[in-house]
């Protein structure tokens, strides 16, 4: 065992890997995450990509980051990091603001060339002095030259050698956190299974990095991280988009309806298409269509044909799908629409996170066009809520919009793989066996849920016609009768409202007896939960309610909220959910915490704002 100076024992630590977008920071970060999760740490990650695929090398706009928090009680990737890896001056400059006072910087000093410094817009040749990094522990690491030395004599070209620099940095980080180097090697071997030479080179470089830390007895803090005592079971590391895709597959298994995806690539939702395209091995049919409209329309066709039909996109694509979603509303067909939200309007901030599509999801269609809206709270919750979106769509014959976001879609966590019986059966509203098929009409519905019956094409004797024109509520024939239209509008609205009978009630966390309740929805859960814990621990008692079911709201929601003197809604937009709730709770003024910077909340921002708003 190494003798380490200055060992700190921590509940959790945050590491941020940063470098040029071609430097492989995501890979280094992912391996560190997986190795940590493998020893029972909770993990939460935040990949921070630049919008450009390949910005000029070494430039400030080309910096790519990957932040991960590992340890116990981890709900977020952390506001600030304990350790920053910076592969070049630009990365150092862009990321030092994320570092905690006194934190550790691992920086490649070989990259401090005049040229690189100029590209990162430094004015002097001493970036450390120029940035004023006195308060930090700096580990000046010759990453480039040591990587070259480790691979000398292997006949590799310079470019291939330089590609291993990220793994040298990973080796240093593994030393710092006492991570099992062999576990990291297993991940490398898997990643480069088809290129054994590359795997071997990376293994050597990993050792070199680890040994560098060891041999130089670098006098920086090293860490021991507490592990969580998780529920027994089999675990895997999963990001939100993959979890979403898998939740859909689970719903397909539980409903007996084959899964169809119609989609068109768009950041940050594309990985759902990628994952489902792979899942032909489970019978999934994922079709890349010619545009988003065709994506939703092919899904509507598949739904009519009896499949569990899904379309996945981000905000601009949701805008294109509006008319199609309206068709599914009036045709009363099950349809799951996934919006992995990003910064808008228009192309906006394609790689950054926001919660600004809430109003679009709720109201962004012509006519009275209600749909169910749900929102996952975390990367792993994407699995559960994708399943729930499907369950609601199928059991209530309606489009359901799932509002994920870039932060949870790309972020990852350790996830216990559910047992086969953990999720309920989904029961399609097929025609009851005692119904008279000869007099049955397509818009005939269950009296209690108001859900129409699903007659699957191909069934003899149930031929019927659906369409976008208003239908008579009794005969199901086209109707322009004024009173009938109003009746149908109300029926469709009431049908969505009654979904509330089929979803869980709202629960309150934190101190339920406090005067103030902090309220959030969707992907901000981790930050709000952590802020709640911190507030309660520092004598600022708050209750906390987090919404995953947006339309309809859980049955008890308004009653619960009305109990509190202060209601504070925190969200990554200008107050859309607050407005939505305010209209339903006219008696009280809802307070707001808003951030629209393409970045997740910082826990500190929420803590400070709550204290401020309750003074």
């Amino acid at each position: 065992m190494l003798e380490k100076t200055n060992v700190k024992v921590l509940d959790k630590v945050v590491v941020r890997f940063s470098g040029d977008s071609g430097d492989g920071m995501q890979l280094a970060g992912n391996i560190f995450t997986n190795v940590s999760a493998g020893v029972g740490n909770q993990v939460s990650t935040f990949p921070d990509y630049p919008a450009e695929i390949r910005a000029p090398q070494g430039s400030l706009s080309g910096v790519s980051g990957f932040q991960v928090s590992v340890g116990r009680g981890v709900h977020t990737p952390g506001d600030q990091c304990d350790v920053l890896v910076a592969m070049n001056p630009a990365a150092l400059k862009q990321n030092v603001r994320f570092l905690k006072p006194g934190g550790v910087i691992i920086v490649d000093v070989d990259s401090f060339t005049e040229n690189d410094l100029k590209k990162a817009q430094f004015k002097t040749l001493d970036p450390i002095a120029e940035l004023g990094l006195e308060g930090f522990q700096i580990m000046e690491t010759p990453v480039t030259s040591m990587t070259k030395a480790a691979l000398e004599g292997r006949g590799m070209d310079n470019k291939s050698v330089l590609k291993c620099r990220n793994i040298f940095a990973l080796g240093v980080v593994c030393w710092l956190f006492d991570r099992d180097i062999n576990a990291a090697k297993r991940h490398l071997n898997k990643k480069f299974a088809k290129k054994p030479a590359v795997a071997e080179a990376n293994s050597l470089v990993l050792d070199a990095g680890y040994n560098f830390g060891h041999n130089t007895h670098a006098s920086v803090s090293t860490y021991r991280i507490e592990t969580e005592d998780p529920r027994p079971g089999i675990y895997t590391d999963i990001n939100g988009n993959t979890a979403t895709a898998w939740g859909l597959i689970m719903a397909s298994e539980k409903s007996g309806r084959p899964l169809f995806l119609g989609s068109y690539p768009i950041t940050p939702a594309t990985d759902i298409l990628h994952e489902l395209a792979k899942r032909k091995d489970l019978g999934v049919k994922a079709c890349q269509m010619e545009d988003e409209i065709a994506g939703v329309c092919s899904a509507i066709g598949a739904s009519f044909a009896g499949n569990l039909a899904v379309t996945s996109t981000s905000g601009p694509g949701l805008a294109l799908k509006s008319e199609g979603i309206g068709l599914a509303v009036i045709a009363e067909l099950p349809l799951v629409v996934i919006d992995v939200q990003r910064g808008g309007p228009s192309t906006g901030l394609p790689t950054k996170t926001e919660q600004t599509d809430l109003m679009q999801a709720l109201y962004g269609r012509n006519g009275e066009s209600p749909v169910a809206v749900v929102a996952p709270a975390s990367p792993t919750d994407c699995f559960t809520m994708a399943f729930e979106a499907c369950r609601i769509a199928i059991e209530h014959m309606t489009p359901v919009i799932l509002l994920s976001d870039a932060f949870i879609g790309n972020g990852s966590s350790a996830w216990r793989i559910p047992e086969a019986d953990e999720f309920p059966a989904i029961k399609p509203n097929y025609l009851p066996s005692d119904i008279d098929k000869t007099s049955w009409k397509p818009y005939q519905r269950d009296a209690e849920t108001l859900v129409r019956y699903w007659a699957i094409p191909g069934t003899e004797g149930l031929q019927h016609r659906l369409g976008g024109l208003e239908k008579d509520c009794v005969t199901s024939a086209i109707s322009t009768d004024p009173a009938n239209h109003e009746k149908m509008v109300n029926l469709r609205r009431e049908k969505i409202a009654r979904i509330a009978n089929n979803i869980p009630e709202l629960t309150v966390q934190g101190n339920a007896d406090a005067d103030t309740i902090l309220v959030g929805w969707g992907g901000t859960y981790g930050h709000l939960m952590t802020a709640t814990d911190q507030l309660c621990a520092t004598g600022h008692d708050v209750a906390f309610a987090h919404f995953r079911y947006i339309n309809p709201l859980p049955k008890n929601a308004l009653e619960v909220l009305s109990r509190y003197k202060n209601i504070i809604v925190a969200e990554l937009n200008t107050g859309m959910f607050a407005d939505y709730l305010q209209a339903k709770i006219p008696g009280k003024t809802i307070k707001r915490i808003n951030k629209i910077q393409g970045q997740p909340f910082l826990v500190k921002e929420i803590v400070d704002s709550v204290i401020d708003l309750t003074k």
């Binding site: 991940h187 079971g233 065709a294 509507i300 499949n307 086969a420």
Partner: protein, 339 residues
């Protein structure tokens, strides 16, 4: 009726809804022909789906006793594609007007053809927007005067066949609303063809574009201005059956047999099944002026369909990986156990 092989008549495909098109509209004849074509095909009504966009023509599914879906403007091809992929056992028809299929739905149209999804697209070409009461369409000729082009259009039209060939289509047929026999023959062939089949039907809108096809379809000229192509038969036409199409360099030429030294031996034989679309395209582009407009089955070539490709891939990958459930698949990946 025999138990194992039921026979259907046109009436079995007819719904009880009263037909709402204007009296004299060409759509009536096309609807009746479709009922007959379906009876000839013998695909049971419950194994047939008819999916349309929006327009006068797109009302058609309501008049069918099949599964039907009257959707939104321009999107029928995409919806039919999803339907067919989800349920490849069923026979799927798409009904679109020239606006629905080639303007707002132009992108879906070319991609459905390119992808070769096994659907039968009936394109009702009346060269006008009927439902919205008379605006020019993407098939209206340059200079066409309509409510939205009071001084005549300043743009050139699409020729539907050219789009089909541009999208590398494998089936193209054409008919005229009043040519009941030809329409039925082409519809049946379109349905039997595996892959995207496009059938253009010249349709008369009596209200907003009456007589638009008359220069070709009028009884007095039809025999001389059209040619009914039949696979394996000589390309002859004319009221007296004495005209034929011959090669003229790379192009086609209409001749009178027995004149200028041309004999029956010079007249081309139609081969709808040849993979090269070179001649098919020339035949389809004949416009009834110097060369007769071609009706019948112009191109009918087998190729792998999108839906068969999807099914085959699913089968192959499933067999190779051998997962039964999501859990199997996840457990085969990287996991760790917590006891």
């Amino acid at each position: 009726m025999e138990q194992d092989k039921p026979c259907y008549t046109a009436a079995n495909y007819k719904s009880d809804q009263s037909v709402r098109w204007c009296p004299g509209c060409g759509d009536h004849a096309i609807l009746n022909t479709l009922h007959k074509a379906m009876a000839t095909l013998g695909v049971p009504p419950h194994m047939t789906a008819v999916i349309s966009g929006i327009g006068c023509s797109s009302r058609l599914p309501y008049y069918m006793n099949t599964y039907g879906f009257h959707t939104i403007h321009g999107r029928a091809a995409a919806i039919a594609t999803g339907f067919k992929v989800a349920n490849p056992e069923m026979t799927v028809w798409q009904i679109s007007g020239d606006g629905d299929g080639l303007a707002i739905g132009g992108n879906h149209f070319i991609h459905a053809v390119r992808r070769n999804i096994d659907i039968n697209i009936l394109l009702f070409n009346n060269k006008i927007y009927g439902l919205t009461k008379g605006q020019y369409s993407p098939t209206s000729a340059r200079g066409f005067v309509s409510k939205s082009s009071p001084y005549g259009t300043t743009e050139d039209p699409f020729i539907p066949a050219e789009l089909v060939f541009g999208a590398r289509g494998n089936f193209f047929g054409r008919s005229i609303d009043v040519e009941l026999q030809t329409s039925q023959e082409v519809m049946v062939a379109a349905a039997r063809h595996k892959g995207a089949s496009v059938v253009e039907i010249l349709q008369n809108c009596v209200i907003f574009n009456n007589g638009i096809h008359n220069a070709i379809t009028d009884r007095s000229v039809r025999a001389d201005r059209t040619i009914h192509l039949r696979h394996g038969e000589k390309m002859i036409f004319g009221a007296n059956g004495d005209k034929g199409l011959v090669r003229d360099g790379f192009l086609l030429k209409a001749v009178t047999i027995g004149q200028d030294g041309y004999t029956m031996d010079d007249v081309l034989v139609h081969d709808a099944h040849t993979p090269s679309n070179f001649l098919h395209q020339q035949l389809a582009m004949m416009d009834g002026e110097t060369l007769p407009l071609a009706i019948g089955i112009i191109r009918d070539v087998e190729a792998i369909t999108y839906n068969d490709g999807v099914e085959a891939q699913v089968k192959e990958v499933r067999a190779k990986k051998g997962f039964n459930t999501l859990r199997d698949m996840i457990l085969a990946g990287e996991t760790w156990e917590v006891k």
